[in-house]
């Protein structure tokens, strides 16, 4: 299909004649050459399109632009072609509006919008919390309305099915932490303190935060996406139309399940991390498992475990609330879905770390030997 460009120019008479098919498909292989030759034609050339068999709007646009967006002085075209050029000319003379440029004023406005939307987020979040509290009050008065089945299904989804990945990550982090600490401690001959470091660090800090990051990425994003898609497909509207509360059916089970599942996941992951640390300490420092397990309760007060579990519950509550908040804000299009899912995970992790700092200050005199 590498035929020469369907354009001939008679230099003596100054007549350019187009021939053959002037369609997108036919012109595509010779387009580069054709553009060059169209550009090289004199502006006052006479044109004949008598030899053109097929002309589509792409071919017509190409010619119209080559003519400088006006009819050549002398041109030979059929009525059908003339009508097509008329359409092309009309379209070219009513150009598309251009999106307004971004100016300093827009930047200021964007800042203001961001602040206002942060306020709107807070207000929405508070409204969601309030609605949940009202729903809880209602459920206390009508205990048979508890969405137990949904809560149980969510527990399985966010709890049981998260166990393999949290175990793997916890174990590896435990191994790495123990290995690095052991290298330092051996230099001081303070091998014994590996138990204190791992015990305190993992049970009180690392376990809850590690699980939160994993769960925010795994379950938080899934919750946002699920609620968001239900908005896109109008499923949540269908639910409301049946007189079923969205918060009771969709939000409450997720929040309840994650609040219940997180302390258990924290316990599980911390256990796996300690096991990893134990294995590493045994290989590196020759500390036996028995010694490690005997020493652990003596050097890590039990309060630390309670703090870790409490953190888990609070973080789980926050992750689920943030995920549902963003899920309910999804507008029915794909862009909004992806933006809200991203925002959900980022906000949840940030919030967890902020609240962790608050925990650290509030519990600074508890459980530290």
């Amino acid at each position: 299909m590498s035929a020469p460009a369907p354009l001939h120019f008679d230099r003596q008479q100054g007549v350019a004649s187009a021939t053959g098919d002037w369609t997108l498909r036919a012109l595509q292989p010779v387009l580069r050459e054709l553009r060059a030759r169209l550009g090289a034609l004199p502006a006052d050339a006479h044109w004949t399109l008598a030899g053109v068999e097929r002309l589509d709007s792409f071919g017509a646009t190409l010619l119209w632009r080559a003519w400088g967006q006006r009819w050549p002085e002398r041109v030979e075209v059929s009525d059908e072609q003339r009508a097509l050029f008329g359409e092309v000319a009309a379209a070219a003379s009513s150009p598309l509006p251009v999106a307004p440029r971004f100016t300093v004023l827009d930047a200021v406005a964007a800042l203001g919008t961001a602040l206002l939307s942060f306020g709107a987020h807070l207000a929405d979040f508070l409204r969601l919390l309030g609605q949940l509290l009202l729903d809880l009050g209602r459920l206390l008065r009508h205990p048979h309305e508890w969405p137990l089945l949904e809560i149980s299904a969510n527990l399985h989804k966010v709890g049981v099915r998260a166990m393999p990945v949290t175990a793997l990550v916890g174990f590896l982090i435990g191994v790495v932490l123990s290995y690095l600490s052991a290298l330092q401690l051996r230099a001081f001959g303070a091998d014994i303190f590996i138990v204190n470091i791992l015990g305190l660090g993992i049970i009180r800090e690392l376990g809850p935060v590690l699980v939160s990051v994993l769960v925010a990425g795994r379950s938080g994003s899934a919750m946002t996406a699920q609620l968001g898609v239900m908005r896109v497909t109008e499923e949540s509207d269908a639910l409301a139309a049946m007189g079923i509360s969205r918060t009771i059916r969709l939000v409450l089970p997720k929040v309840a399940a994650l609040t219940l599942a997180m302390p258990l996941l924290v316990l599980w992951t911390s256990g796996m991390a300690l096991f990893g640390g134990m294995v590493s300490a045994w290989l590196q420092l020759d500390l036996s498992f028995g010694f490690f397990l005997d020493t652990l309760p003596a050097v890590v007060p039990i309060a630390n475990l309670y703090i870790g579990l409490a953190k888990g519950a609070v973080f789980g509550l926050l992750i689920a609330l943030v995920a549902c908040h963003f899920g309910l804000r999804v507008a029915p299009n794909t862009e909004s879905l992806s933006a809200n899912t991203t925002a959900s995970v980022v906000s949840a992790i940030t919030l967890v770390i902020l609240v962790d700092a608050v925990f650290a200050i509030a519990t600074r005199s508890i459980g530290v030997p």
Binding site: S57, E87, A91, L96, P97, A331, N333
Partner: protein, 263 residues
């Protein structure tokens, strides 16, 4: 306009078999669509109309059989070759399937940009032209799909389907979800464009109004094969329970009377 000299059928199916698990959907479907024809595919729910259309688009593959577009096989050949074939038709999906992250103008420009054939200035002109073709204003180019009404979504999707100057247009339920007024206007628009651009059209539809106003031929899909393939008048004479129910049922009779009275 001018039918091409090389008279390959635009679509040619022979013995197409489709299976979903144990469910046999098509068992030897033969269909031939010639250039310039408007073929309506009708059939009951679950008779595999849309599946057949998806075979033609190349989204699914039949389990057996032969499928040729413009005389070239869609089922074997290099991926590049099949992509080139796919550029020769435009598809209007049932829900429009506009890219919701893009504006209307960007949606229509997208196929042109991807094909890397036109300069930016040409693309702007062509987008304005396609918008005018589907009777929309240039100002609509800046809207997002979420801001459009159902009728406008279909028009924009049609403009996007026409962006690469296709020879074949595939329509999946073109008037589903439109009110009767808009549906009539949209059908008139498709008919006008079909005549002006010399398109071959295959449409899947349930709507007898649409079918009667557009189709030059009707292919009735049932019992896993093509039951009848003829003009609307001849199809009406076929004695088959499904065709009877579809065209001579309460709604069908009324719609046909309306359309034939109107013309």
């Amino acid at each position: 306009m001018n039918p091409p000299a090389n008279c390959h059928p635009v679509i040619e199916m022979r013995g197409v078999v489709t299976r979903f698990g144990d469910n046999l959907v098509h068992d030897g479907v033969d269909l031939r669509v010639d250039a310039g024809e408007v073929v309506a595919l009708v059939g009951g729910s679950g008779s595999g109309k849309t599946t057949l259309l998806r075979h033609v688009i190349g989204l699914t593959r039949p389990a057996a059989g032969e499928l040729r577009l413009f005389g070239e096989s869609l089922l074997d050949g290099r991926a590049e070759h099949i992509r080139a074939l796919q550029r020769r038709f435009g598809v209007l999906f049932q829900q429009g399937a506009l890219f919701s992250a893009f504006t209307v103008g960007e949606n229509i420009a997208f196929p042109l940009r991807e094909a890397r054939v036109a300069t930016d200035a040409e693309i702007r002109d062509l987008v304005a032209l396609k918008l005018a073709m589907v009777e929309l204003e240039p100002a609509h180019a800046l809207l997002k799909p979420a801001e459009l009404s159902g009728g406008m979504v279909k028009r924009v999707a049609l403009a996007r389907a026409l962006a690469l100057e296709p020879e074949l247009l595939l329509l999946d339920e073109p008037t589903a979800g439109l009110d009767p007024d808009r549906s009539t206007a949209f059908v008139a628009l498709i008919r006008d464009l079909q005549r002006r651009l010399g398109l071959t059209v295959v449409l899947v539809t349930h709507d007898i109004d649409t079918l009667a106003a557009l189709a030059t031929k009707v292919a009735v899909l049932g019992e896993r094969r093509i039951l009848s393939y003829a003009s609307l008048e001849d199809t009406l004479k076929v004695d088959h329970p499904f065709i009877h129910r579809f065209f001579h049922g309460e709604h069908g009779r009324r719609a046909l009377a309306r359309v034939q009275g109107g013309n």
